[in-house]
Every structure is written in C-alpha cells, then in structure tokens.
Symmetry: C2
Subunit: 723 residues, 2 copies
C-alpha cells in the first residue's frame, strides 16, 4: 500500500493570507480550504487546486429580514429567577439576570397561553387568573401565598444570535452590528431562506462545499446581564421553540404543550436529567421536522452541483446525527470539533453521510497562540486522544479552524501539524477502508439516552475537564479507543430484550442522573432482565453510583449483582468486615496506584461472592463479584488515563468471562495499545505517552516481539509477513 | 465557698481489692462503691462509710426461670438475607448469618401471623398462602417470581443475652453459662420478677442503691455466625417485641401491626432513618408501658428504703429519658457513660430524677490498661470534652467502672483521676447550684427526633469516631459546652410555631437522614414557617446537606434562605461565578485553616445576598447569606475542635444578629472558653488544649485581663471582686 502525501486535510484561510495559504497547502498536502466566522475566503484562492468550503448561515447575517419580520425571530423559553413571596402580591422582573441585548420578552403571543407561573413550593401551576404581565415594568404580578417561591416560564426573542454574541465578546469585536436571528421553520422565513440559498449558490459557483452552520435551532446559550455566559447546554432544545412550532407539536403529540416540558424546573433538560416522556416526544417531533426542512436545503445545494456539509455545532439542535431521521437529510458530510477520543467518535460513528471530517485542536485563536500558551502541547495531547479513537473508527478527513496567520507564525507548530497529518494518512493507508479487530463480543453503555446520544454520556461541554464528571466520562473516553464494539442502549431497550451480541453492560455516573438512571431502577422488568442477563453469563460493570435509587432497603438496586452498595447513613449500624485482596486478573498489568478520580465514597462490599481489589480505609473502590454464571466489576470512578484504559479493558474481558481471548492481540505495557487490521495484515502499536516505552507484543496469545517505542510513536507492522 | 474534698465520686471494687479500695476511697474522697458485670462487692466493704451500689439485672441471671418459661424469653424481629430468586421456588435459610447460640427462630407463635415475606423488587407483601416455614431445614419456601428479591421478617428468641454475650466474648470468658433472657413485660415473668426483687431487697439490707441495668428491653445487638457483631443500634427497638406486646400495641394504636414497622427494609429504624408514623407510635406505646412497669419495680425498691438508679444503657429501650413518660418512673438517679460533651449532656440534662452520675472514661478494662495503651491520655481527652459540658449542665456525681486493680497499678493514673475529681468538685463549689450564663436567646437543633433524642443527633455509637458522621456530630459536640441554651425540635414542632425564645435554628446532617429531614422539606408549611422566621430576623445555620430533598428544581429546599445549593449534575450548565471574600465577623478570631472534615462537596452560592468565606476550588465551604431581616450560615462540615467551637459560636451570634453581645463574657483565644456564674460571682476560663495558652478576657465588652493558662488549666476568678 502506498501512502499519499496529499489529501484528507482542510485548512482555514483569510484575505491576508493568500501566499501563505498556498505555501502551507502545498507543504501539508491540504486538498480543501475554508473560511470561518470572522474570516473571509480570498478571491485569489478560489481557483486553487483545492475544494473550497464556504460556511453558510441559514438563521442570521440578514438583519434586514429579521427586522422586517420580528414575529419570525427565533425564540427561547426562559425561566425567571426563583422568587420567594413575602406577602400576597409578588412581582417578578422577567429579564432580571438576562441580557436585554440578547433577549427580548415576547409580547406578541399571549402570555396567558404560552407562559407558565409555577408555585415551586407546591409544584402547582398558578392559574393565569392570578397573574398578569405588566409591560411597563417588565414584571409579572402574581397573587401569591406568603413565603411560597415562584417562577415564570416565558418566551423571549433571540435578538442577538448567541454564537455571534459569543464570538463578538470573545474576540472583542467593536463595531460589528449584532446579528439578529430568524426562525427558518416559520412560513415567511422558510420561503425566503430557500430562495436566498438558491441565489447564493448561483452567485458562488467556485464554492464546492456548502458548510451549514448549521440548520435552524441553536443549542442553548444564554448570557447574563454582565454579558457573561449564564447558561449553556450544547444538547439543549430550549431555543428551538415558538408558538408556531408548539402548536404543530400539540397536534402531532395529541396532548397540550406546557412550558415546563422545556424549562424543566430550571434545569432546561440538561443531558444529566432523566428525560421526561414529553421532552422525548418534543425531541422526536423536532427531528422529524428539522430533517424534512434540512433536506429541502440540501436538495437545493445538490441541484447546483455542490456538496452539503453540516457542522455538528451551533444550530445542530434537532438534527441528532444518531437519531433515526438524520440520514433522511441527505447530507454529503459532517464536520465537527475533536477534543478527544469521545468527540472524535461522536463524528466518526455518524452514519448516513459520505464522509466525516474532524476539526482538530487547537483552534488558531489568540487565546492559545499567545505568551504562556502552548499550542504544540495542545495539538499533541489532542492527537494522542484522537489517534486511538481514529484507529477504531476513523474520520475521513481532518482540518483546522481559526486564523491561519497565528499558526504559521508559531515556531514548530506547522511541523507538529505535519506529523499529525502524516500519521492520519498512514492510518488510512494501512487500514485501507477496513475495520480494526474488535473483541468477539459487544459492550453496551446503558443510560437514559442510548444511541441517540452516542458518545455523549456524562459530559457537560465537549472534551472540557470538569471536576464533577471526569471520574465517569473517563470510562467513555477509554472506550472510544478500545478494540471493542460499543453500543449505547436505553433502559427501555434492555427491557425489550438484550441483544445477544452484547456480553458486557456498563452503567456509569452519579445517582439520579440520566447516566445512572434514577427511578428507572424501581422497575422490576429492568432489574430482572439485567439479573437474568448476568446470572446466565453476562457481565455488568458499574462506575460511581450505578443502578442507584434509594428503594426497599438498598441504594444500588443491583447491589446483589454488583456485590456493593453505598452507605447513606441508614446502615451504619450494620457491620461490614470488608477486607482487601488485590490479587486479580484485572490488576495483572498494573504497577502504579490506581486513579479513581473523585469517585464515590462510602462503598462497601456485601453478599457472599465478592472480592475487594482496592480500598480506601474501611471502604472499597474496586470490587468484583460473581453472580450465577456471570460477573460484575465495580469502580468508584475511573478517570481517563492510559493505565485506566487498560484496567477497564481487563475488567471488560473479565466480566465477559473471556480472559483467555484478551491476548489474541495484546501489548503488555498499559501505556501502549494495539490496533490490528486483519484484512490488510497490518497492525499498529501506539505509545500513548510522551516518553519512550517498552512493551511486549502478543499475537494469538504468543509473545512475538519486544518493542521500544519513541515518545508518542505509532509503529506499523505488517504482521502476517514479519512475525 | 468552701470546697469539699470528698463526695460526688463512685469507685468500682472487687473481691480481691478490699484494702486497695479503702485506700483509694480515702485518697480520692469517694462516697460510693459499686460492683460491675463480672466483679463482685466484697462483704468487707459493705460496712464502709460509703453508699453501696449494686447492679441489678431484671431480665437475666436466672436461667432456670428462662428455661422453664421458653415462651416468655425475650424476642427480636430479625430480617433474613435478601435473596434473589432464580426460579419460581425460593428457599431462604432464616438463621443464615446469625448466631444460633444467640437467637432461635420462634416457632411457638404462628409464622403466618407474625412473620412477613416481602418482595423487595416490588415492595409488596407476599401472602402467607405463597410461602411456608419448613422447620426441618430452617428455611422459608416461597412461590417466587424469577429474579425478584425477597426477605423474610421473623421473630426469634434471644437465648443468650446480648450484653452478656458481648462481655463473654470481649473478656474471653470460658466457663460462664450463657445467660438466657426473659421478658419482664410478659405475665408470668412480671409476677416472678417483682417477687424476686422484693426477696433480693430483703436479702441485701446493706445495699443503698439498686442500679438497674436497666429495665426490660435491650438495645439491638445481634451477632453473626462467627460471633462477631452483626448489627448494633444503641437506639434500636427491634429486640423489644413479642406477640404478647404487639397484640397490646394493635389495640392501643387501632391498626394492625406489621413486622415491617420494626425491620424497616432491613435498616431496623436506625436513628439515621426518618421515623415512620408507625414506629413513632410503637415507641410511644413502649414508653407508656415500660414506664408503668418500671415504676412498679422502683416502688418496690423504695419500699425497702433504698434508692433506685437507672443505667442509661443495655436495657434502656422504652425508657427514653427525654420522653414525656420518663419522670413517671420515679427514679432517684440515672447513671451513664460519658464519652464526650454530648454524652455528658445526654445524662446531665435528664429531668425527673434527684441526681445524675457520669461514668467517665476509660473503663478500667484490659484493652486500655495494657502495653501500648495510654489510659492517662484517654482520661485527659475525656475530661477536656466532658469538663466544658459540665460547666454548662453538670452531672451531680462522677464515677468509674471496671477492674479497680488495673487502675491502681498503672503509674500516674490515680493522680490523673485525682485531678479530675478535684476539678469536678471545684466546679460544683463555685457554681453552687446555679447555672452558667448563657446567651440571651436559644439555639434549636432541628431534626426528625427533636427533644426525645436530645444530644443524640448524628451519632452511631456514643462518642465513637466515625468517618461518616464526625463532620456533623461535631456541631452537637461543640454545642454541648457552649454558653448557649440548646433545644432540640422536630419538624412538626416548627410547623406548630417556633418558640419566640429561639433565635437560631440549626439543621445538620446528610441528605435524607432523620437529621437533615428528607421529604419533610416538601412540606409547604415547614418551609414557609422557616422562611418567615428568618425573614423576620431569625437565624438559620445549615451544615452538610441541610433541608436537602431534590424537588422542584432545588436540592436544598431552603436554598433561598441559605444562599447555597448542592450541584447534583443537573445544573452544571448554569454558570456560577462564585468568588471568595473571607473578611467577616465569623472568622475574626480564626488564624489556622478551617477543618471542614469530610464535609459535602459541590456546594455553590446562589442568590443575591451571599458572601463566601471559604472555598474549595470553584465550590464553597462556608457561606453567609442575608434573608430579609434574618441571616443564615452554611458549613459543608464542622468537626469538633476548639477552633470550630469558636467559629460556630461566632456563627450563632452572627445569625442571631447579636454580634455586639458576644463579648459580654469572652476570651479571645479560640482554644479557651469562659463560663460565668453570675449568681456566685465566679467565672472559669478553661484551656481546652494540652499546651499553654494566652488569652484576653473581656467582661461587658471591655478587656479586663490577659491570662496565661497552663495546659488543660481551669482558672477560677471571683470576677465581681477581682476585676
């Protein structure tokens, strides 16, 4: 196989970078050029031997239209501050804490119909007979019960596009006019936007790829009165609403809409919340409608001989790339930001497009390319995490974003990109369109979202480190680069029957979140199906507070399967007698202390078939349990690290009862990994650290080689000939 | 005032210690001598110039009676292991995990009536038509649903008294016959025990004080099949049951009894559990009946001219010294073990007796008086904690327990006791029956138990350190020695109206426990009463997870009052912008880092009136909030330490809006405290450390003296004359 030294790479450009762009394009072998929000494509480059991408915004950059049709400006459901009444009349200032340059109360549609005042002390709706909106003061006036707490859920127009506002603030733009939004779903705007796209296609014949940023509904991004971020939920649907849409939803769903379905007690259906039936219905409805309308725009693009690419960000709401309507859109490609292995897989696993493209980090932005910044380190760390995921499920292309000038002037940075691009092309050359070897069984991550939110479990913002989540999202990150086929399944799917190809099920996260499952665990069908699954030979891995839901004398409802429960105080009078026994298959490669992150405390082993592999004082952190023919493994937490990847891999093989098969293809050093392409006869051993590493290489259980890998090295071996 | 150098002291003795006892009695000025479980009173000492205490056991030490009346042996509700069915027939071995020398299944009373099989997967009772007890195997056989989990709640006879068994095992006794129990509440035994007591009184004319150990019902103390402690709940009523009693209860309560009211999902109504109505009813019923019957025994004792003393331990269940029936018993005295300030107050605050006696630590037992043991340090630590509580609410007497021989032979130990006894007499001499000055307002600890379990909040076993509780019980320990009148109130009492003398309310503990209150916080009456209380000038102090109960968008239901909430994941998309500002009245004396123990993580400030005094990364550990005319203070945790006592004292004065009154009587060094007896004109300054300490002394807000205190010193000043 011959490796191309061009292709699969997209570079950003700008009007002041014509010569440099050409130089870097040739040096790095880029075959596509793109503009960004804030940069422009120079005329001179349109004729280069490269595909030309153009960012295209369907919902903004046309303030005239927005101002002429204020009723079709995008809307968002907001919830006021929670205010405690001190008497029998309460005034709540709606816009308090919001930025009036971003949002404006919708007084066009009747508040009595579309707003909701809730007594949060009782959970009851306050009848519109007992409140009214006073436009002069911007306050809702409520007949209140003293010392009850109230909220008002209300509609507001998005008079400044959130991403434009974010870029404006972040880049300290001064004179750019605020870009208003408009709602493409609404009748007049829909007609207008389609016509506009046609005209744009006609006016831009040199553009090969229309990169939609994105379609119609922005993820929730709300600013406070000091222009600081107030609420941001990348998965959030709160800004995809309008009476026009909600009236359609009512008809489709067959029941009346309530603002509470969107504002959700103020949590706005954060991905950590167990989604209500009504919110799931709303998501479904939006997917159906968004995919239909998006298809119309894609068809227009195609009719001009251009490709349609979707950016997985900004206005992606309702597209749900792992939902059942996505393929209907007919896109050619998806591009998205790659922060780590998980976000790589979030793009590369998308079906229903011809190709995927990952935008690697760092963005060429001044916050990193500055004194004290270390863009080379960021690029390396990003690549170490992305590379192991690409070996399992590759994006077809990679690219960068931002100001090319910053990257080109940073010493050594272009060389670093060169190495990344070269390794990326090596992977494609050696895999040659085939998949890497995976274990002969599947692993399923069980949560409330399932495959709809594939590779999105336990995250707040993509690839950002959060103290609250790193101990659980580490499990998903580890899986993203493992030689394991991973499914994401819901509780309902488990009840309908576990796919026989699934051998190990993982439940990971904090109690009562969508990820551990909360009240789902009171469902006899769910717990019985899982008990049967494990009893008959399946494996169950719990991380954090798996199956947690205080009920009938237990916190972990599958405490019998897991062999552990968490002490909430109620059982402190019961003696535990837990003792350590760390000799176990799972820990055979492990030499360093295990990092459990900020894993859960107060875990004790119980039952008769457990073995405690790691303790913290009298409590346990890593426990295995035998349950009938099956097995379970429990971790208090498992942040991402090369060693924890290995521990999880071993836990999976142990839980699956397939220990003997683990060394079919195996490297002993936990900080190295192996990817095998049986159809091409190639294998790669990667060093996931920035230091030299030695490792033994096993094939079919037999020690074949001892390797010394340079820092970050990816070593390719044509194993069927060489070994 | 002249201080006596005799009196107020009880010493243990034994048959081999006649001369030594007399020597130590004279040396230390003891005025009472006692026997213990395992030691005997020598004949020779009966005529000494000292009161003679005799331990008296109503429920054991008469195996003949027990064996002749097996149906009146004491009983305990047990719950079997939780067992998961794998088919449609499940066998549960009842005694698995219990010790058959301690407990024996009750097959005399019909299982169908008194036992309960529960499907823990659904929470439903399995009808007796679908299970039966198979006596030959000791198993309950259940028609089961596959993969549902079941428990059997059943009655067992206590064929070995739990405390006798404990002492037997702990002291490695070999040949002592196991002491059976009998239930004094039952008809034949009741008659027999009363007669026996009369005879005993007649036979023991030299005994002055009959020390009941205790009355009828042992706290729950169950051993496992390896003779290890399996379950121990000092507050537990599980061993106070029998069909005889439960039938009376049904009549009294007016509804049918269920075993679940006792076994409580397997938690056995641990004091950490929010008590159900039925369990509270059962406690009430037991108090009524126990106090009636105990009074009959006390009357017998009195009829022989002897005093009746109750040991607050062993069979104290149903006496509830802070309950409304206790005084009816007519006891002369209560004696109990003093582990710290809290347990001191648990004795000294008891009303309805003529005097109280505290048994100080250490017990003269071989586990402490041994190589590697440090009984002098234990005595000092014990005294430092007890002394500050005695200054607020004194026991009338102190005493010791165990083997006097061990104490007398340990170098320096008797001298240490001498110092303790001397200081104890100093306190009584200087207070002369009057009370110490307390702040001009009361502080109330709010939990599910209220005054019934005064000074018992947040504890597992008395005065033992537990990682799970020390961060919250520290608050109660601190209060035990503060110049503050402390009430313990229930949620129901708050709803009925807060006593106007209460200025500050404290809610401390883990979420969903009896101490923080769980679902009580969904009650609008409760939250509104407290909001009004604070709004109108009251103070609220929360520690750990106060008012916690996930509901309507908040975890802490009084988050508006507290200015904080806890992040459970659902609101991670909401930005917080918390910043530190440690300049505050509460921290003015504080120089060292604050110890929050294993306090709660993920606390963020919210609202508009908070100030964050201490942070842990981006989260907060100490926050104050203004709420109308009132104030709140929040701590993630507050283990006991001299500095934390001072922080809490300042927090109380701050929350009460009475900062200016704090220095009425004040010592500046946080490791010192002051107790003032206005009626006698004396004050004491105590050094709560084992190092020398300097402190300024303020009276009426004016600096009066600078003191240097020796390690552990208690300095008395006749302040009205001297200053």
């Amino acid at each position: 196989m011959k490796q191309a030294n061009t292709g699969r790479l997209t570079l950003p450009t700008d009007v002041d970078m014509v010569a440099a762009t050409i130089r870097l394009k040739d040096l790095l072998g880029a075959d596509a050029l793109r503009d960004c929000d804030g940069t422009d494509m120079p005329e001179e480059l349109l004729t280069q031997d490269a595909k030309i991408y153009a960012t295209y915004y369907t919902t903004r950059k046309d303030n005239d239209w927005a101002m002429q049709h204020p009723e079709e400006i995008q809307q968002e459901y907001l919830i006021s501050d929670r205010v405690t009444a001190r008497g029998d009349r309460l005034r709540i200032e709606l816009m308090k804490g919001f930025h009036t340059e971003q949002l404006k109360v919708n007084t066009i549609d009747p508040p009595g119909k579309w707003w909701e005042v809730i007594d949060r002390t009782t959970g009851e709706i306050v009848s519109p007979d007992h409140w009214h909106y006073e436009e002069s003061s911007g306050e809702v006036v409520i007949d209140s019960i003293p010392y009850h707490q109230y909220t008002v859920s209300f509609l507001a127009f998005l008079i400044w596009d959130p991403v434009h506002m974010y870029n404006f603030i972040t880049n300290d733009w001064k004179d750019a006019p605020h870009q208003l939004t408009y709602d493409v779903r609404q009748p007049k705007t829909q007609v207008y936007v389609k016509e506009k796209l046609k005209k744009w296609c006609e006016a831009n014949p040199q553009v090969d790829v229309v990169r939609f940023t994105t379609f119609f509904h922005q993820f929730t991004l709300t600013f406070d009165d000091q222009k600081r971020e107030k609420y941001v939920e990348w998965f959030g649907y709160s800004a995809s609403v309008s009476p026009y849409i909600l009236e359609q939803f009512e008809k489709w769903a067959g029941y009346p809409f309530r603002p509470e379905y969107i504002v959700d007690e103020g949590y706005h259906n954060s991905i950590f919340r167990i989604p209500s039936k009504e919110f799931r219905d709303f998501m479904e409805f939006q997917q159906i409608e968004v995919s239909k309308l998006a298809k119309e725009l894609v068809d227009i693009v195609h009719s001009y001989g251009k490709e349609a690419m979707m950016f997985l960000g900004d206005h992606w709401i309702g597209t749900e790339p792992f939902g059942k309507y996505f393929a209907n859109i007919g896109l050619d490609a998806v591009v998205g930001s790659v922060g780590d292995g998980v976000t790589l897989r979030m793009i590369s696993d998308i079906q229903g497009v011809n190709y995927t493209e990952g935008r690697l980090l760092p963005y060429f932005f001044p916050d990193v390319f500055t004194e004290g910044g270390d863009p080379i380190k960021e690029a390396q760390d990003n690549w170490l995490k992305a590379r192991r995921a690409i070996l399992r499920s590759p994006v077809d292309r990679i690219g960068y974003g931002g100001y090319l000038k910053l990257a080109s002037e940073w010493p050594g940075f272009i060389e670093q990109i060169g190495k990344v691009v070269d390794e990326f092309r090596q992977i494609h050359a050696n895999m040659d369109g085939t998949g890497a070897y995976t274990a002969p069984f599947k692993v399923a991550v069980l949560n409330s979202w399932g495959n709809l939110r594939r590779w999105m479990a336990n995250q707040v913002h993509h690839a950002l480190w959060y103290r609250e989540i790193y101990s659980y999202v580490g499990v998903i990150e580890a899986l993203s680069g493992m030689p394991i086929d991973v499914e994401f399944i819901t509780f309902d799917e488990v009840k309908a029957g576990i796919d026989p190809s699934i051998r190990v099920i993982i439940n990971a996260g904090d109690a009562y979140t969508a990820f551990s499952g909360g009240d789902n665990w009171k469902d006899p069908d769910l717990v019985c199906t899982l008990r049967r699954f494990v009893d008959q030979g399946g494996g169950f891995i719990g991380v954090g507070e798996p199956t947690a839901c205080q009920y009938q004398g237990r916190f972990f409802q599958l405490s019998d399967v897991l062999g552990v429960d968490r002490e909430l105080g109620f059982s402190m009078s019961t003696d535990k007698y837990n003792t350590l026994n760390p000799e176990h298959f799972i820990l055979e490669d492990v030499s360093a202390d295990i990092d459990f992150g900020e894993g859960k405390s107060r875990i004790y082993a119980q039952g008769e078939h457990y073995q405690i592999l790691n303790m913290d004082g009298k409590y346990s952190r890593l426990v295995v349990n035998e349950y009938g023919q099956g097995r379970s493994v429990y971790f208090t937490g498992l942040p991402y690290s090369p060693q924890n990847c290995r521990i999880l891999l071993r836990a999976i093989y142990y839980a699956a009862h397939r220990e003997e098969e683990m060394k079919k293809y195996y490297v002993t050093n936990p900080e190295t990994e192996i990817a095998v392409f049986e159809k091409t006869g190639k294998l790669a051993v990667i060093n996931n650290t920035k230091e030299e590493r030695h490792t033994d290489l096993y094939l079919e259980g037999i020690l074949k080689m001892q390797l010394t890998l340079a820092p970050m090295e990816m070593r390719w071996i044509t194993y069927k000939e060489e070994l």
